[in-house]
């Protein structure tokens, strides 16, 4: 190998050694702090107003005592209750509705309870009215720029026991019982 080649190899080896050594080769950089403001999250809340709800039947105005009432095919029970809605967030829009599984059999293994729950669950409708409510089902709450704070909303749950033209069609639901412990009003962001 001639001297020129030896020299090139040595030089290259030297460069390689230098490059492989310790040390950083960061690009130039600089940083600065940008002062920002405060970000606050909005709110979405539905709460009990504290006023007891009222049960009526078949369009009557006289409240009934539900614990002593026996529902029969053709009856329409109405529960009226006031809740307070809070919503803040300029772009917040939410839907007001009934929670799922609001009506359940008192005893899951009792055929009459199960049959009654099926009839009533399939025929329960929620209505709502208030300054912050729009729509006719589904019902919408729009917070807007100003927001809504503890706005009263009257909710009405109408529970109908269907009555077929066929005699005996609803016999399976005689002496049944259903629980309303899970009857809830929900607000869900759209």
């Amino acid at each position: 190998m001639n001297k020129l080649i030896k020299g090139a190899i040595a030089g290259a080896a030297g460069v390689v050694l230098l490059l492989g050594g310790a040390g950083t080769f960061a690009l130039w950089n600089s940083s600065a702090t940008v002062a920002g403001g405060t970000i606050v999250a909005g709110d979405l809340l539905v709460a009990d107003s504290g006023t007891a709800g009222v049960w009526t039947v078949n369009g009557g105005v006289t409240p009934i005592t539900l614990s002593s009432y026996k529902i029969v095919p053709g009856d329409v029970l109405t529960y009226t209750k006031t809740v307070n809605v809070t919503a803040s967030g300029a772009s917040l829009v939410a839907t007001l509705g009934l929670g799922t599984a609001s009506i359940t059999p008192t005893a899951a293994g009792n055929a009459a309870d199960v049959a009654l729950a099926a009839y009533l669950s399939a025929n329960t409708v929620l209505a709502a009215s208030g300054a912050s409510i729009t729509g006719s089902g589904p019902y919408t709450v729009t917070a807007g720029a100003a927001g809504i704070v503890a706005q009263p909303v009257v909710v009405t749950a109408t529970i109908s026991f269907p009555k077929s033209a066929t005699a005996g069609a609803e016999n399976g639901a005689k002496t049944g019982s259903v629980s309303l412990a899970n009857l809830t009003v929900t607000l869900t962001q759209n």
Partner: protein, 209 residues
Amino acid sequence: MSAITSTIAPGRGRHSVRRRHSGRVGFRSYFSLRSTIIVIITLVAAVGIAVIATGGSYALWNKSVPTGSAASISSGTVNLTVSTLTLPTTLLSPGLTVYGYAAVANTGDVALSLAGTLSAPTASTNFSQALTVGFSTAATAAACTGATPTSTATFASPSALTFGTLPTTATSVSPIYVCVSVTLAATAPAVAQGQSASTFGIALSGVQS
């Protein structure tokens, strides 16, 4: 992928460097690159999956409140009870009517539309074919004697019977009476003498009004 050939020791022969590294070196390089690509793809996928898995939840806001309504709803029932039909043992002659009654109670939770059907005797005879059965309702048993039927039927041509509404106030203590009259036709044939009509019945049914 082109073959890599060594220039350090070209050599010759079967085991020369040149020959040793020519095609087989290229073959190894091909798989080395392919393996590298596979590893890179795997790493990228793994990182991506890890990022997705640790990304947290993105649930919309929601809130619910119990309505505070009563604990449960109970359904009612319907229940119709009928006493045994009481008919006198008077022997019938052409044109004669005998009266009887059955007490009917509604122990359910809704008023019932009361209806009935007449079932013929086990054995049809000239006598049974000449009978007309009449029905009505009354508030007392005594009122059934001599009551004018509101509907009639014969064993020869049984028809559906209606008795009106049976309210829930018709309890076992204070029932409503279904009045039954049996008339032998004035034109009953002579051969009907001495015959009888037994085990006939009236099936009552109540349907929610």
